[in-house]
């Protein structure tokens, strides 16, 4: 049963990247729609978008930390 930790780290990181990619894609798509419809609100929308991306990204980074822990244990 050796190397299962490595397998878990890889699969977990991949799933986290999948979810984060989808979420950031949807979020920035909607933000672009909003800015295109109302360019004068662009600054506020952009700041909110970056904040949202940051919170989504944090979830993937938690997975990264867990993956590194699993990886270093083998």
């Amino acid at each position: 049963m050796e190397g299962l930790g490595l397998l878990g780290a890889g699969i977990g990181m991949g799933l986290a990247a999948l979810g984060t990619g989808l979420a950031i894609g949807i979020l920035s798509g909607k933000a672009v729609e909003g800015i295109a419809r109302q360019p004068e609100a662009g600054g506020v929308i952009r700041t909110t978008m970056i904040l949202g991306i940051v919170f989504i990204e944090a979830i993937a980074l938690y997975t990264l930390v867990i993956s590194i822990l699993l990886w270093s244990k083998g």
């Binding site: 970056i50 940051v54 990204e57 944090a58 980074l61």
Partner: protein
């Protein structure tokens, strides 16, 4: 070490990101050795002080090139971070947030220089910064509103009485999770970028041939360029989140 030997024995990638001890130093059993991480961090502090002092030494009404470059960053911190996240009361926090921004920015950027080691990619430095932010947010909140009023304001108004303790416990957990997520965000972002550059470069060793270098080297250079961008973005993100937490503590009555 030849490429074949390295490919056979397998190597520990994270080992290359560990700090190198330059001068051993022990104080009462605590290891305070001077590593290249420490040197990089003090280099960042020195550079920030040098650049900001030079820019502010003789401020002119019509700024020169250097002064207006520094001024545009400072104005960005004031208008885009403090004014939008806290409002006018937040100007008290301008020195703190500005220092935070410049220190993280220069630490991240100096970490890209060869032979240095990014201080923000070691868990301790972001953790220390996040704890300082955590303490200043809550001490400021308690001093401004008084302890009872401040802690009551954590729970949204108009909840039924029996939900109140549950939500309060949840809010305590989220308050403790905030510095943790600040730490991990900065640390993991900086570490991940360096690991990716390292992985691209060590493809040469992994495959044991120089034929992969025309592919892996350009990717490493592209990632290096992206790292410069991420350095700035992470400094911005850390500062704007700190500003958001401070703003929530200041406007606790809502």
């Amino acid at each position: 070490m030849s490429a074949e030997a390295a490919a056979e024995e397998g190597f520990d990638l994270l080992h290359h990101l560990a700090p190198k001890v330059l001068y051993e130093l022990k104080l009462g059993g605590i290891d305070i050795s001077i590593t290249n991480t420490v040197v990089t961090m003090f280099g960042a502090v020195f550079l920030v002080a040098l650049i900001l002092l030079l820019a502010a030494r003789k401020p002119k009404i019509i700024p020169g090139r250097f002064q207006s470059a520094v001024e545009s960053i400072v104005l960005f911190i004031r208008d885009d971070i403090i004014m939008t996240m806290i409002g006018k009361e937040g100007m008290v926090w301008f020195p703190f947030l500005g220092t935070l921004f410049f220190f993280i920015l220069f630490s991240n950027l100096l970490g890209l220089v060869p032979y240095s080691n990014t201080p923000t990619a070691r868990l301790s430095v972001p953790l220390a910064l996040a704890v300082v932010v955590f303490l200043s947010v809550h001490v400021h909140g308690v001093m401004r509103h008084g302890p009872v009023k401040y802690f009551i304001s954590w729970v949204p108004k108009g909840l039924p009485l029996w939900v109140w303790p549950i939500v309060f416990v949840l809010e305590i957990v989220s308050a403790i999770a905030k510095p943790f997520s600040l730490t991990v965000r900065l640390f993991a972002n900086m570490l991940a970028g360096h690991v990716i550059i390292l992985v691209f470069l060590s493809f040469v060793l992994m495959f044991g041939t120089l034929l992969v270098s025309p592919l892996s080297l350009p990717f490493a250079i592209v990632m290096m360029t992206l790292e410069v961008l991420f350095s700035a973005i992470q400094a911005y993100v850390f500062t704007i989140l700190s500003a958001m937490y401070i703003g929530a503590a200041i406007h606790a009555e809502h």
